[in-house]
């Protein structure tokens, strides 16, 4: 167990006072410390939004990319240097709307990436518009007459897309969240943690109390390997919302499937001019 203070950065936070991103930040630090992952061993790939600012407030390597494009970048990092712990981070808009296409295909490929989605069911950074997980009827800047659309169930989508680890955490219980994030980091393939996050400024429906009244921990005897049951839990949303590892499947991560990565990370190998010369003109 490392000291959590080694991840402290000097950056001034730009989040609202009372934002639950602070609780997620605490959980991430706690998870990294509990796994003895030093700041130089972890690489974050984050998008654009309030959520992706998290790694700014953490001592780590950071590729702060573009809105919605966290996962292609994270995949590139992992394939170039699979010795790194790669954590992708973003919001529900970033990951499920703008990056929805990448989301589905990254899970299918199963690179060893931990994906943390701060799901506040709203666009925070752009000051309150509807997101793919916004409740029906939610009044926002772009849905002044209420949201007409059915919210997406990201965990059910993940299970359908062959995600090998799909979990849900709650920013209102940061100790449990830290444990969940640690499990996700330890998982060898793609691990999604959808984190329920009250937005104190722009989402007046899904408040801390709203979540608190609904969330429950999966029972100890729950078997996350049962895909059909996992679907049912992933779709459970309303009176009760389950927290924990909803689905888990043993699947070799992408980087372990590639024979050329067997000797070690790509960047530690050199193909060399000799080999290139030998190959020249061999394609028919």
């Amino acid at each position: 167990m490392l000291d959590v203070n080694i991840y402290k950065s000097e950056d001034q936070s730009a989040w609202c006072p009372g934002c639950y991103n602070f609780a997620i930040l605490k959980a991430v630090r706690q998870a990294l410390a509990s796994l003895d992952i030093a700041p130089h061993q972890v690489m974050f790939s984050s998008g654009i939004g309030q959520a992706p600012k998290l790694p700014h407030y953490l001592k780590c390597n950071l590729f702060n990319g573009l809105h919605g494009r966290t996962l292609p970048v994270a995949t590139g990092i992992k394939l170039a240097n699979h010795g790194l712990q790669v954590i992708a981070e973003g919001g529900d808009g970033d990951g499920y709307a703008e990056g929805g296409n990448h989301f589905v295909h990254a899970m299918r490929r199963n690179p060893g990436i931990t994906y943390l989605v701060h799901d506040n069911q709203i666009y925070g950074l752009t000051k309150g518009q509807t997101s793919p997980t916004s409740e029906k009827g939610l009044v926002t800047g772009t849905t002044p007459f209420g949201n007409y659309n059915a919210p997406e169930h990201p965990l059910a989508l993940a299970i359908a897309a062959e995600c090998s680890f799909a979990a849900r955490g709650f920013a209102g219980d940061s100790d449990h969240l830290a444990e969940l994030i640690a499990q996700a980091i330890k998982h060898p393939g793609f691990a999604l943690v959808d984190i329920l996050q009250p937005c104190v400024t722009f989402n007046k429906l899904n408040t801390f109390q709203w979540y608190k009244d609904r969330v429950y921990q999966l029972e100890p005897e729950y078997d996350p390997a049962d895909r059909q049951k996992a679907f049912a839990r992933a779709l459970e949303w309303g009176e009760r919302i389950p927290l924990g590892i909803i689905y888990k499947k043993d699947r070799l991560p992408l980087e372990n499937l590639l024979p050329q990565l067997k000797p070690g990370p790509l960047i530690k190998q050199s193909i060399g001019m000799e080999k290139r010369k030998e190959l020249a003109g061999q394609f028919r």
Binding site: A97, E98, K127, T142, P144
Partner: protein
């Protein structure tokens, strides 16, 4: 009816202008500094029987308005730099398939994520050349809140008439500036709706000769059968590999602009008659340029302003003529200098062309431009 005076933002005036023009479909994705256009239309359009839809990204935003427009709805999207970049592929599709729509780009400082809440005028060349292949471009640049309203209406008119996406190139400065304006009364501004075909559906050609500008064309699903594709196509819209048909299509797209330059070109002039030093400027930068010209005149310097409100097609002929008559032309832009190269291209008289630039996210000031005028005067 009494006068309606409003204290509007540029983005607000743009959304209101779209309502005035008869826009009935908006699809897009939130992004600073354009979000107000979307949020206002999200509220106004449904009340008028129109449709607003927030899509999952900007590619979907332009995609949905192209679909709506092809089906006959007056359609629009709004965005800023990162979203505009994402729209490039389908923008080209709109040009190729000749689909009328309006794309508003409220420019922010780039490149990339840049300065989301600060302004720039650095997307002007992307507006012209951002999508691949030879293609026509029409882009309008408002310098005031009132112009934001009026040029939005004009953008819809031109889109209808020229059957193509028309870009309203706003910037954060004008988009977020508040200014008094008198709202045009219904009927005061022209609203152009393209004619619908009257021929027997069997005779109908979606891309008939004479239909590229001001001619009739049908909405999909209105009883006329045709094809829409991004592939190079014949008069019915079906893909072709025939060299004569390819040539015909490419010339048709080019001629939309080249044969209508007089109609499309629009510039405002101030004190040009006897001007020795002319400032070429557009959009937000033109506001400071205008002030600098007035201050120069007060100091006895013969300065003038050339301000295009239609930036694409570029007013080549006018710029060439003004360059011949003046001693020096200053090009005031909020970028590292983009239109200065267009001005140079039009320079047939070796008149000195001097860029006056600012690109730190802040508004170019009259003082900076005045100083450049005084230097040029020496």
């Amino acid at each position: 009816m009494s006068k309606q005076i409003k204290l509007w933002q540029g983005n607000e005036a743009c959304a209101e202008g779209a309502m005035y023009a008869g826009c009935d479909f908006f699809g897009g994705y939130p992004i600073t500094p354009s979000t107000e256009v979307a949020e206002i239309l999200a509220s106004l359009l449904p009340k008028a029987g129109g449709k607003f839809i927030q899509m999952e990204d900007e590619i979907a935003g332009i995609g949905t308005i192209l679909g709506a427009a092809a089906a006959g709805a007056k359609s629009m999207t709004s965005t800023s730099g990162p979203g505009f970049s994402l729209m490039m592929e389908l923008l080209g599709y709109g040009c190729m398939a000749e689909i009328p729509c309006v794309i508003v780009n409220v420019q922010r400082a780039g490149p990339s994520t840049g300065l989301p809440t600060k302004g720039a005028q650095a997307d002007v060349m992307q507006t012209r050349w951002g999508t691949h292949g030879d293609h026509p471009t029409i882009a309008l640049c408002p310098s005031s809140i009132e112009e934001s309203f009026k040029l939005t209406v004009k953008a819809f008119n031109l889109a209808e008439k020229f059957r193509m996406p028309v870009i309203l190139l706003l910037d954060e400065f004008i988009g977020h500036m508040r200014e008094k304006m008198e709202v045009p009364r219904p009927g005061e501004l022209e609203i152009y709706n393209h004619p619908r075909p009257k021929v027997d559906p069997k005779e109908y050609q979606h891309y008939a000769d004479g239909s590229s500008v001001g001619g009739p064309y049908a909405a999909m699903g209105s009883g006329y059968r045709f094809n829409i594709t991004g592939l190079t196509h014949d008069k019915h819209g079906f893909p072709t590999a025939r060299l004569d048909e390819i040539q015909w299509k490419m010339d048709r797209l080019r001629d939309k602009i080249d044969r209508h330059l007089a109609e499309l070109t629009e510039v405002e002039e101030e004190f040009l008659d006897d001007a020795e030093i002319v400032i070429f400027s557009y959009g937000a930068a033109a506001r400071s340029s205008q002030q600098a010209v007035r201050q120069s005149r007060a100091k006895g310097i013969k300065a003038g302003l050339l301000r295009p409100t239609t930036i694409w097609p570029f007013p080549d002929r006018i710029v060439t003529d003004v360059l011949k008559k003046c001693r020096t032309m200053l090009v005031a832009e909020i970028s590292q200098g983009q239109l200065v190269y267009e001005v140079e291209r039009c320079n047939k008289s070796s008149t000195p062309v001097v860029p006056v630039l600012r690109y730190d996210g802040e508004m170019i000031t009259p003082a900076q431009i005045l100083k450049a005028v005084e230097e040029a005067q020496k």
